[in-house]
């Protein structure tokens, strides 16, 4: 129940993809780019951010669980 590795992987992947998108968008400026941004990249990026926040909540939740339940007689 350690979510750090998965979170880091997702965060790093998003960061890299954002940089690559910015680079691509500089050379691509037409209706298909706007369509791609609206229907593919934008939702993908925002849903990734939502999952990152959800992982943070999971992490907080399981920290509480660990504090409450860990066997330490």
């Amino acid at each position: 129940m350690r979510f750090g590795a998965s979170r880091s992987q997702l965060y790093d992947a998003q960061k890299t993809a954002r940089a690559r998108w910015d680079a691509a968008a500089e050379t691509w400026n037409d209706a298909s780019r706007r369509d791609f941004e609206e229907h593919v990249w934008g939702p993908l990026d925002s849903q990734t951010s939502e999952v990152l926040r959800a992982i943070d909540q999971l992490s907080t939740l399981f920290t509480q669980v660990r504090q409450d339940c860990e066997f330490n007689p």
């Binding site: 500089e26 037409d30 339940c69």
Partner: protein, 179 residues
């Protein structure tokens, strides 16, 4: 009238498509990793609960033993005086406290075991599931569309030896139209 393509670098688009494929795989791995950790977490709480239940049984035995020790001491000495049972009473109180603590921990574990699935469902599952569906559906389709568009641009660029940046039409015009 449809807007023409404005692509300064087909290579940059190819790079972006490749980066997107890497991103898709990375996100998929990350989501799978979270699922594994969630499952481990649920198993971990069940394991802790079992350990605390065993501790309760051990503590109950200890309380029984301490009570017996105290009872055995509560007989008058040869001179008719009651012996000092301070140590036995203290040992019994400590054993009872350990038992209460272990019982409380069992209650906490059971409470988390009951509540955790719903809390996970509320805070994470819909987001993870939605992103997974997006990867498998919209993203895969979007990448296929982009791939075909890049193919079309490459075919068009192959026809035009002096291809350079700037607005152009998609699909690529026939060779005779370029003259």
């Amino acid at each position: 009238m449809p807007e023409g393509a404005d692509v300064a670098s087909i290579e940059a688009l190819r790079d972006w498509l490749a980066a997107l494929a890497v991103y898709r795989d990375g996100v998929g791995e990350s989501l799978a990793g979270v699922q594994i950790e969630v499952r481990r977490g649920l198993e971990w709480v069940a394991e802790q609960s079992a350990l605390w239940q065993r501790a309760v049984r051990d503590c109950e035995e200890e309380v029984t033993q301490r009570k017996a020790e105290l009872a055995a001491k509560k007989f008058p000495n040869w001179d008719g005086r009651m012996p000092d049972t301070t140590v036995e009473e203290r040992n019994l109180r400590r054993a009872q406290a350990r038992l209460e603590y272990a019982e409380e921990q069992v209650r906490k574990c059971r409470s988390w075991i009951a509540r955790l699935p719903k809390l996970i469902e509320e805070c994470y599952t819909p987001h993870g599931h939605r992103l997974q569906l997006f990867l498998e559906g919209d993203l895969t389709r979007g990448m296929a569309v982009l791939d075909r568009r890049i193919d079309a641009l490459e075919r068009y660029a192959g026809l035009k030896t002096d291809y350079s940046s700037g607005p152009s039409a998609i699909p690529a015009p026939k060779p005779e139209e370029q003259r």
